[in-house]
Symmetry: C2
Subunit: 547 residues, 2 copies
């Protein structure tokens, strides 16, 4: 028996209509590449997105066409985010931190026919244009700032000028593709995830449901997470739903710039990866104060070091440690504490915040062993994490091989992350499948060792990688970026770690780097480190090597 | 181009699974008909709903079957709410405050084949059983409290005993019917609204998105709104999504009982119709204190008198004035203030709270004149309110006539409410189409007059109804339930109202009642008042009558 309720497609265009009408006070504040600080309301954002949509249609952009962006966080990028899908086209965000080869690969793979670019990337595109598919470019600026360029390029503000500012958006099936994003390429070639209106809308609703109570009414949010990767964790869609203000930092992501922007704009909640918070925290320490209104941080993308969480929490900033991936829209779990957990002593709270939190409504989770057998949710058993839900990719765009490897027989998506889940649903990531270290038949979790090592006072950042070993198969090498001049030695680190780890889990050697190599989304690149230390010889093998 | 995301049906069964795993601390606290105060977790609620689902299937309840309830707010009612739809059957809640004739009509119209009843209603059902469709009854109690009865009745706890406590819920299309509820019968015969899993899930998500920030993390909520009407404003579905505790008052809805329950259980947010808050407010005044943790009230179903809103607000209780109807699941608009509005002076805030707030995400609104022409959203123009959205009824169950009258050519639902909408989306109900008073070609809004009249110190409750008039067509009669012994007279009331209304809008006469007649959902029944004062002669017509 069917219900007798209306059926309206869940469309992203409904979000702008809602915010424009309901939240006259919220502002999109953008630190622009041109240098100024620009403000507009949701109603203005909608009017400009409408203008852009007419310009796109006038230009022949049709439903299903891929429209690419190469841009920082700013209002124009947000307008493209809403205009493109609202007329049935697909917004393909390109991560400018990918290598040139990867960008060229992605643009061809996606079949982009139009590219919106920030001023910053015009020189890069000029160099790449012969390798990119034939397309037209729009420079996201006004006539006064339009550069001399060899690109076949239009000016964004010229496109909008004179177009009507209101429209009734077209009806589309809710399963229509709305966005395309490639994974970070941390473990290999980037793979494309094709979001739909339905998946993005349900992601926005679920995000609001789980984070709304901590964010409070119409929060002022700083998305440091880029619009160019996984929809800035969905904020372009969650913000108009909850009437948030978005404070867009543009390209200035260093600690000092972020501190100033947060302070000036009264940012309450800031979202980004751990490396960003490292920069902001150093700035807070050097200035001796946090930005006045900052009270909430959402962090994910890689594991948040406990010491950093503790630093923010001591300042009264609630750190919400979330997990997700391109393939999960991305929010899969989040670490908002329950009322009883909020009353726990500091140490126990911080231990909880090391974990990646509880699943977001709509995302189902299972952990399985190599044979695909479900493991118990007892906080102990480890296994590969599989997920299922409306916000999870059913496969990769035009990549049958990767799709077949990712989806299991029951239709669940294999994340490649190794995790345990407690009886009350708390997810703890132990490692990535490719980063786990197998020593004498036992697994060593690189995340566990890293979390402990980074708490050492002389360690700024660290990573644990596996080196091959004739007897144990693999043994851990600890790579350290020191905080200052002091370089904590192997014995020092082993005794520091020994309080919490078994002796066979301790690293066999320590090496030092001046800078950690980062991936396109600001994660430590273990691929690069493995390459870099491929020929490193562990102490217990040095004699043999000399023999 | 289609997105490449998983498609999982939006099913209510997912809510219990989620809450059972994610919110170990939340409790369903029930003041039971048997007299005790019962507590259980969401995990226990799920386990018991699973047991019930097996019992129902074992008994032959099949997908599409209607299963009725006649019960107060309590954990067993909540278990039925989740068990019945989770196996594809339809939970039909019957409002015990309807007249016997209406109940009989509804049970036949719905085609109920099984009825769950609280102990309270066994005597009523014994009397009615010969007029009801042939069905079996389940008394919602344990063996020890099972009454002697002429009904063909089973005992609820016996049904559950021994059944398995875990299951994987069946997959169903998300458009499957999940619930059936008839309108209050305020304006005529009750009409059935058939909710779907999709509509209830999207309602829960939207409710969480708009109310979550004010409710805070895992709030303790008192649903005074009954599970037997419009899903207690969706709380059975929103609560497991946000990890709320539900404090279920059972049949004890007087001010003193509610005060005690709120105080004992630390209720933070309480939801109900204005008549309930009148009772609680009187109790707060007589005790000289509010229940300690109460800080939030959601009120709707009929207009909240400003004086009552002000009373609560002065105690630091945030009054959220919502609008909705059976046909809108029910939340259509809600009055959560924006940050800037929160900073306004008391008087301006209270004026805002007289309005019914902004539309909930997913509900579209238009106001139209008699010819169906859209009226501007300028806060001035009035028209019949039409709505559209996934949570809005597409028609009435098995009632083609009422469906045709309700749905316009473009597929919008006509609410029968007369409203204006401001430029920033704030809805103000001016009247019901059937309650408007047409005097000399101009409309008088009965709601406006009532809101002002109830602010008079001697007035406890009031209602304005139309009496026929040979010259003006209709003129308003003010019906007053006085607070104490004083009976404010016509001149007194006209001068009180005259400060805000034009003289032609003032009532022509005042009459007094000891008790206001209430409808099945606790609204003042104007149908009954019109009946009661049908023969009342207005002062300016008395001479003529005597002539
Ligand atoms: N809170 C977290 N703690 C630890 N790891 C995390 C966390 N959040 C995300 N991750 C890691 O990031 C991954 C998702 O990142 P993303 O989708 O950006 O691409 P990637 O996996 O880094 O790149 P690729 O899939 O191309 O190798 C997760 O699978 C997980 O390994
Ligand atoms: N906040 C409010 N202020 C004023 N009126 C309200 C408010 N909320 C709801 N209402 C009234 O209640 C109506 C919905 O009530 P409900 O669905 O319970 O049945 P009913 O309309 O009273 O009964 P019936 O439709 O059978 O006549 C709305 O159409 C509106 O007239
Ligand atoms: Mg990945
Ligand atoms: Mg009605």
């Amino acid at each position: 028996m069917d219900g007798l309720m209306m059926h309206r497609p869940l469309l992203q265009s409904g979000l702008l209509d809602f915010a424009a009408e309901s939240f006259p006070e919220a502002r999109i504040v953008s630190r622009r590449v041109e240098g100024d600080l620009h403000r507009q309301s949701w109603a203005q954002t909608r009017a400009r997105a409408v203008q852009l949509s007419f310009a796109l249609e006038g230009w022949g952009v049709a439903p299903g066409d891929r429209v690419a962006t190469l841009a920082w966080n700013g209002h124009r990028h947000l307008e493209i985010y809403h205009a493109v899908p609202s007329i049935g086209a697909v917004c393909h965000t390109i991560n400018p931190r990918l290598s040139a080869d990867q960008m060229v690969f992605i643009a061809h793979h996606a079949g982009d026919r139009l590219l919106f670019t920030d001023l910053s990337f015009v020189p890069l595109l000029e160099k790449l244009q012969d390798r990119l598919p034939p397309m037209r470019y729009v420079v996201m600026t006004d006539a006064a700032h339009m550069p001399q360029t060899t690109l076949d390029a239009l000016c964004y503000e010229d496109l909008l000028a004179g177009q009507p500012t209101d429209r009734v958006w077209p009806d589309l099936p809710e399963t229509t593709a709305s966005g395309l994003c490639y994974t970070s390429g941390t473990t290999g070639d980037p793979k494309g995830v094709l979001y739909s209106h339905r998946s993005n809308m349900l992601h926005a609703l679920a995000t609001a449901a789980v984070l709304g109570p901590d964010l409070g009414p119409q929060p002022r949010i700083l998305p440091v997470v880029p619009l160019f990767h996984v929809n800035a964790w969905g904020l372009p869609f969650t913000a108009p739903l909850i009437g948030a203000s978005l404070i867009m930092p543009g390209p200035a992501l260093d600690g000092a710039s972020l501190w100033d922007l947060c302070q000036a704009e009264g940012v309450e909640s800031a979202w980004g990866v751990p490396t960003i918070w490292q920069g902001l925290f150093a700035e807070i320490q050097s200035r001796g104060a946090k930005p006045a209104n900052l009270r909430h941080i959402v962090v994910g993308g890689s594991a948040m070091p406990r010491s950093l969480t503790e630093g923010f929490e001591r300042l009264g900033i609630d750190v919400n440690h979330a997990w997700g991936m391109t393939e999960t829209s991305p929010l899969g779990s989040q670490g908002s504490l329950t009322p009883a957990q909020r009353d726990l002593p500091f140490d126990r709270r911080m231990a909880l915040k090391q974990a990646q939190g509880r699943r977001v409504f709509g995302v189902e989770m299972k952990i399985v062993d190599d044979a695909g057998t479900r493991q118990p949710h007892d906080g102990q058993a480890m296994g590969e994490l599989f997920v299922r839900g409306n916000t999870v990719a059913a496969g990769y765009h035009d990549n049958a091989g990767a799709t077949a490897r990712a989806i299991d027989a029951d239709g669940w998506f294999g994340t490649g992350d190794i995790a345990s889940i407690s009886a009350d649903g708390i997810l703890t990531l132990r490692d990535r499948a490719k980063d786990l270290i197998k020593s004498g038949g036992e697994w060593i979790s690189s995340i566990d060792v890293e979390n402990l090592a980074v708490a050492h006072p002389d360690v700024a950042q660290c990573a644990v990688i596996a080196l091959p070993h004739p007897k144990w198969d693999e043994r851990p090498l600890l790579v350290i970026k020191p905080k200052g001049a002091a370089r904590p030695g192997l014995e020092e680190m082993r005794s520091h770690l020994g309080a919490h780890l078994a002796s066979w889990q301790l690293p066999d050697d320590v090496v030092y780097v001046d800078e950690m190599p980062l991936t396109a989304t600001g994660k430590i690149s273990k691929l690069t480190l493995r390459e870099q230390f491929r020929d490193h010889v562990l102490p217990d093998l040095r004699g043999q090597a000399a023999d």
